[in-house]
């Protein structure tokens, strides 16, 4: 009955649209696209009574999309979306299978909805750590190899995961088959810090927190763009090197990576800024030594290095880099939890304005004299 009514209304709507507004057929519907300004890996469409979330770039070179209908509990589920998963919101129980997803949950203040995590040792939050220890939050395995039985028995209404595509390790299909709505998060595909933070808006959909997310993100965006204004017209931009080598191979962040964007926005001259890679690319140690010889600043080294000795014990040849001689080597692991998780990867993800402030404070101290770095430590501690 209901369906017939819908169909009739639908046909009528089309007819009227075609007849009257033939030039602008969409105008008859209450359809808007949520404003997503920086993120490129997802879209959100607002429809009458429901929303459509589409993860358009679920992984690198993906040949498929993931579509989700976000329907308020008690509202009818719209027809015609055969390939979409249905998420009835607000949800009360969520499982996150990557530590970064927790960052969004945390920023929205929705911590108490978390009932299961994978790889809890990468989560910085002490609250989650204690929850896992006391058993109120289930630890459901590691990385892509999750413990499905444990996850199922935690009875999540929604699971967030990530996927690499074409991998037997990807778990999303298995989860979907078990009847758990599963969102493939691909925040790491974003090329800008703001784009990555904007995934807040995705997490917010599941809890009816869209307005809160918009407000938080608008604040972040305002502060971030103000900071970018500060550095825009600087004439002197220090040269920046990032990363470290393993057995002669140096994984250099690409020119289109989030790291490169941070350096650019903080008024730095990233040595590989012209590169077109969005992830990382490998270079030989000698190639980096050559180009990096004159680097003024050196950021983001091995997670486990907390002092300059760690760097030199690992490889004394690092000493030939100018930034080392100038004591301008900074690692983003100022806040490490006792179990080794880095706050930079958690709260840093959803506070890009603070990360940017850190970097500006390090490279252009005059611009932000009062800011104390939150995420960055000087590896040669007396250099500040």
């Amino acid at each position: 009955m209901k369906r017939t009514a819908y169909t009739i209304r639908f046909i009528l709507a089309i007819l009227f649209s075609a007849l009257i507004f033939s030039a602008r057929p969409a105008a008859a519907q209450t359809e808007t696209t949520a404003e997503i300004k920086y993120a490129k890996a997802f879209t959100i469409e607002n429809r009458d009574g429901y929303k459509i979330l589409t993860v358009v770039r679920p992984w690198r070179n993906a040949d498929r999309e993931f579509q989700y209908l976000i329907v308020p509990k008690g509202k009818p589920i719209p027809d015609g979306y055969l390939n979409a998963q249905i998420i009835q919101v607000p949800i009360e129980k969520i499982a996150v299978l990557a530590a970064t997803h927790f960052a969004y949950l945390n920023r929205l203040g929705m911590n108490e909805k978390l009932i299961a995590v994978a790889n809890p040792e990468y989560i910085y939050s002490e609250q989650v750590h204690n929850g896992v220890d006391s058993g109120t939050i289930a630890a459901v395995g590691n990385g892509p190899d999750i413990n499905l039985e444990k996850l199922l028995s935690a009875e999540p209404e929604l699971t967030t995961t990530f996927a690499m595509g074409k991998s037997t390790k990807d778990d999303y299909q298995q989860l979907i088959d078990k009847g758990i709505p599963t969102v493939v998060f691909s925040d790491y595909m974003e090329e800008s810090p703001l784009g990555r933070a904007e995934w807040l808006k995705v997490m917010a959909l599941f809890f009816g927190q869209e307005e809160e997310a918009d407000r938080i993100f608008a604040d972040i965006e305002r502060r971030y763009t103000e900071l970018v204004e500060l550095t825009r017209d600087l004439d002197k931009k220090p040269k920046v090197l990032m990363g470290f080598h393993m057995n002669g191979k140096w994984n250099v962040p690409g020119g289109k990576s989030v790291q490169a964007a941070y350096v650019r926005d903080a008024g730095g001259d990233y040595l590989w800024a012209d590169d077109e890679t969005s992830g990382r690319f490998p270079l030989s140690f000698e190639a980096v030594l050559e180009k990096g010889a004159s680097a003024d600043f050196w950021f983001d080294l091995s997670l486990s290095w907390t002092g300059i000795d760690d760097l030199i014990n690992s490889d004394p040849r690092y000493a030939s880099i100018q930034a080392y001689a100038d004591r301008r080597v900074f690692n983003n692991n100022l806040q490490l939890s006792p179990w080794g998780a880095n706050a930079f990867n958690e709260t840093g993800l959803v506070n890009p304005d603070i990360v940017l402030s850190d970097l500006i404070r390090l490279m252009h101290p005059d611009l932000l004299p009062d800011h104390e770095p939150v995420y960055y430590r000087n590896l040669s501690a007396d250099g500040f």
């Binding site: 590691n142 270079l283 030594l289 050559e290 040849r317 030939s320």
Partner: protein
């Protein structure tokens, strides 16, 4: 054996040329490894860097003196060490498939490295690091420790059991170690897994000048000791009975061979990771190059050819530079594989190599 001696005498003239060519090739490969890399450095600047000139632009002095020079020396010594160890294992077990890793020494090194990388750099097993010094131990020390542990096991066993049993022991040790490593990998962070993987790919680039001061003396000593294994190896080729008849104690010489081969393999594994293929391919290459099975010829031959092959492999893995930095193990197998296949197919019957 006697017939081989005759052969070698009749081939005296060309044989000398083989040595000269090999010696020249080694020098050439070494120089080429210094001059070629992913960074293009003009000829005269390389010379200036080597002569100790300071103030070269773009860190070139550091690249040549602290990167390429130690890397090339590490390559030479590793290539020589693995080839000699491979030759010794092939003769000891009279098996053309034997390689330096067959005793499980490198598996021990692998385990040590895996624990340090996978546990130390974050992961569920971090509590292990808290209990002991494991977390703070450096990679080389851990790999050496692991290799030594297996080495002690093998040496103890070698007094009691037959050579074939040792072979099986080595293989089983590898399986056990690999199983354990897989557990560690499962629970390690992606960064740590990548670091560990890149260690198993093998590389000479991690060897700094400071590290050479230990690596070179250890390998040199073991290579010198390997001269003592020449007679026993030749005798073993003829079988234990014959060995006894010429006054060689097969059990004692077996232990000596295992000792030397273990030091060689253990040192290379600890400093450069697991470098495959050279140890199995170079001895075969030498046998066909010299058309001889006398270890008096094969052993020095393996040192020279092994060093050259390692240098060439390093060069190829580096010279493409940029995005095409190749894993050393892939280079050795990709380049060496077809060569050795060609040699083997040409000879048809390899088992005859171990008959005198």
């Amino acid at each position: 054996m006697a017939s081989n001696r005759d052969d070698s005498r009749s081939l005296q003239y060309p044989r000398r040329w083989v040595w000269i060519v090999l010696g020249a090739a080694l020098v050439l490969c070494w120089l080429a490894d210094l001059f070629l890399g992913s960074v293009r450095i003009p000829f005269q600047d390389v010379i200036r860097a080597l002569s100790g000139a300071e103030g070269l632009s773009n860190n070139w002095g550091v690249i040549i003196r602290d990167y390429r020079l130690p890397k090339s020396i590490a390559a030479m010594f590793s290539g020589a060490a693995l080839s000699v160890a491979g030759l010794q294992m092939q003769t000891l077990f009279r098996n053309s498939l034997a390689d330096p890793f067959i005793l499980g020494i490198s598996s021990g090194g692998n385990l040590g490295a895996a624990i340090v990388i996978l546990v130390g750099a974050g992961g569920s097993f971090q509590f292990l690091g808290k209990f002991s010094a494991i977390g703070n131990l450096n990679l080389i020390a851990a790999a050496s420790l692991g290799a030594s542990a297996v080495f002690i096991l093998v040496m103890t066993l070698s007094r009691r059991v037959h050579a074939t049993t040792l072979l099986i022991t080595g293989v089983l040790v590898s399986y056990i170690v690999n199983a354990f490593v897989r557990v560690l990998v499962q629970y390690a962070s992606p960064d740590a897994v990548q670091a560990y993987l890149s260690w198993t790919f093998g590389s000479f680039a991690g060897v700094t000048r400071e590290r050479l001061t230990v690596f070179v003396p250890v390998v040199s000593l073991a290579l010198l000791l390997s001269a003592l294994t020449i007679k026993p190896l030749n005798a073993l080729l003829l079988g234990e009975l014959h060995a006894r008849s010429v006054g060689i104690d097969p059990s004692r010489s077996r232990r000596l061979i295992i000792l030397v081969a273990s030091i060689l393999t253990g040192a290379v594994t600890a400093y450069c990771g697991i470098i495959g293929f050279i140890g199995i391919a170079v001895p075969h290459l030498c046998r066909s190059l010299f058309a001889d099975s006398d270890h008096m010829v094969l052993l020095p031959g393996c040192i020279l050819v092994g060093a050259c092959v390692a240098l060439i492999a390093d060069m190829i893995s580096q010279v493409f530079g940029g995005a095409f930095l190749l894993p050393l193990n892939s280079v050795t197998a990709l380049i060496g594989g077809p060569v050795i296949l060609f040699v083997i197919l040409k000879k048809r019957n390899l088992s005859r190599e171990f008959d005198a």
